[in-house]
């Protein structure tokens, strides 16, 4: 017998169920007076550096219907490419930008919407820079383990073409499922980013 590693096993995941909004965004779900505000609703302080952007999208199932009971969380670097996290050792992130956002998909339309800033670039494990991206995490009824994916930016074609993560995809035609399309109105940028759980144009999800 060899020595034992004595490792514990990770707690198995379970679906968030249809009422995730009660726990994650209770004010949105009509449960007021418990928390002053829903977590992750305000990411950008007035003094935050970086371009203000809006991200709008839907989470779409294999029957082409938007999920109205999903929760979407995002995690991203600040405009200089630093994470507002104790594990960030490369410098101090912008204190006016949290980097974490959480939004429900709308109960009537299924739309989610984030008001954030465009992130800077951060390095891959070998030091090469990845293209600017935002980590997405999706949970909902019917999703047994939360789904990780990334959003990249349509106006970063040169960086996207050199991103070591996007280069990892065997089916390069699927890269486009990770790229949000930029549009501008009144000088303000909006990125459209739909997440398809299954079927034509299925989003690339990560095991990270």
């Amino acid at each position: 017998m060899a020595q034992r590693l004595d490792l514990l096993k990770e707690t198995p995941s379970q679906t968030a169920g249809p009422y995730i909004h009660i726990g994650a965004t209770p004010n949105h779900a009509g449960i007021s007076g418990v928390y002053p505000e829903d977590l992750g609703g305000a990411m950008v302080g007035r003094s935050a550096k970086g371009e203000r952007i809006t991200i709008v999208g839907h989470v779409i199932d294999g029957g082409n219907e938007p999920l109205k009971d999903a929760l979407v969380e995002i995690w991203q670097a600040d405009a200089a490419g630093l994470y507002n996290s104790p594990q960030e050792r490369r410098g101090k992130a912008d204190p006016h930008f949290t980097g974490f956002g959480r939004q429900p998909t709308d109960g009537a339309t299924g739309e989610f919407r984030f008001e954030t800033i465009k992130p800077g670039r951060v390095p891959f494990v070998d030091g090469r820079l990845m293209a600017p991206h935002i980590t997405f995490w999706i949970i909902a009824r019917g999703i047994n383990v939360g789904l990780h994916t990334r959003m990249y930016f349509s106006d970063e074609a040169a960086a996207n073409a050199k991103c070591p993560v996007l280069a990892r995809l065997e089916q390069q035609s699927r890269v486009k499922t990770l790229i949000a399309q930029r549009s501008e109105k009144g000088g303000k940028a909006t990125y459209a980013f739909n997440i398809r759980l299954q079927g034509e144009g299925e989003t690339v999800f990560f095991d990270i």
Partner: protein, 249 residues
């Protein structure tokens, strides 16, 4: 090497690969909603980058005085009705180390099995003094504590006459986005766990037993509440100093 240095070495590590066979697979046909919500392509495997080894950390000042007391945090007059319980435990990582200062959120049905949600279709009544959400942040050893009422079982639209066993939903952040987890806690001795298409989506019996909180008579509150102990394990960090990687700029 100073203790701080050891800690820093640990903190710089990436995470053990998630054992997907220990979790329910994405497609569990007996749980019908998973059919159209499960990806068909294989996941893209990727070593952790700084985008995953970092994560949001919330300060203890986020937490209000009653946030972890579901018997009182929504009550307008009186207290929530139902069997009173303490739910407590530790958030650990796979190395058995406590995960300090991490946000734990819970949500649940009331004692009759009814959620406070406009799309809820079960006839059991709402409890005017029960909202159904709570949160806390673990202490320096990773401990947490909630007071609540034991939720009821309830029927749900899946197969005819499917019922969910009593459960509490948990959401845990950990110290890195790679550790993010949502799950459900079940109660010791409940025969309905083993008939539930969601719970039994966990393929391994020992894995499902990891979701069942233990009745702990020693930590009940005298003439007030029973206690259930529920430890939560998040992914562990690699700790060898010989990682073959280049530090970022």
């Amino acid at each position: 090497m100073s203790e701080q240095g050891i800690e820093r070495m640990h903190d710089a590590g990436t995470y053990y690969r998630r054992d997907r066979g220990w979790h329910p697979p994405p497609l569990t046909p007996q749980y019908k909603t998973s059919l159209l919500r499960s990806p068909r392509f294989a996941l893209l495997s990727l070593e952790n980058t700084i985008s995953e080894t970092t994560g949001p950390v919330f300060g203890h000042d986020l937490i209000g005085e009653l946030d972890n007391d579901l018997i009182r945090n929504y009550a307008k007059a009186g207290e929530a009705i139902g069997p009173r319980i303490n739910v407590y435990g530790r958030v650990l990582d796979e190395n058995g180390r406590g995960v300090a200062d991490t946000l734990v959120e819970i949500w649940q049905a009331n004692a009759g099995g009814r959620y406070r949600h406009k799309r809820e279709g079960y006839t059991a009544p709402l409890d005017p003094n029960f909202g159904g959400c709570g949160r806390t942040i673990t202490d320096a050893e990773g401990r947490y504590w909630f007071r609540t009422i034991k939720p009821g079982a309830y029927p749900w639209p899946n197969r005819v006459n499917d019922w969910r066993p009593a459960h509490i939903h948990f959401s845990v952040f950990g110290h890195a986005f790679a550790q993010r987890l949502v799950s459900q806690m079940y109660f010791e001795g409940d025969p309905m766990i083993w008939q539930c298409p969601i719970a039994t989506g966990v393929p391994d019996r020992a894995a499902l037993e990891q979701l069942i909180a233990a009745l702990d008579r020693n930590n009940s509150t005298h003439m007030d509440s029973l206690a259930y102990k529920f430890d939560i394990v998040l992914r562990g960090r690699r700790s060898t100093p010989f990682e073959n990687k280049t530090e970022g700029a």
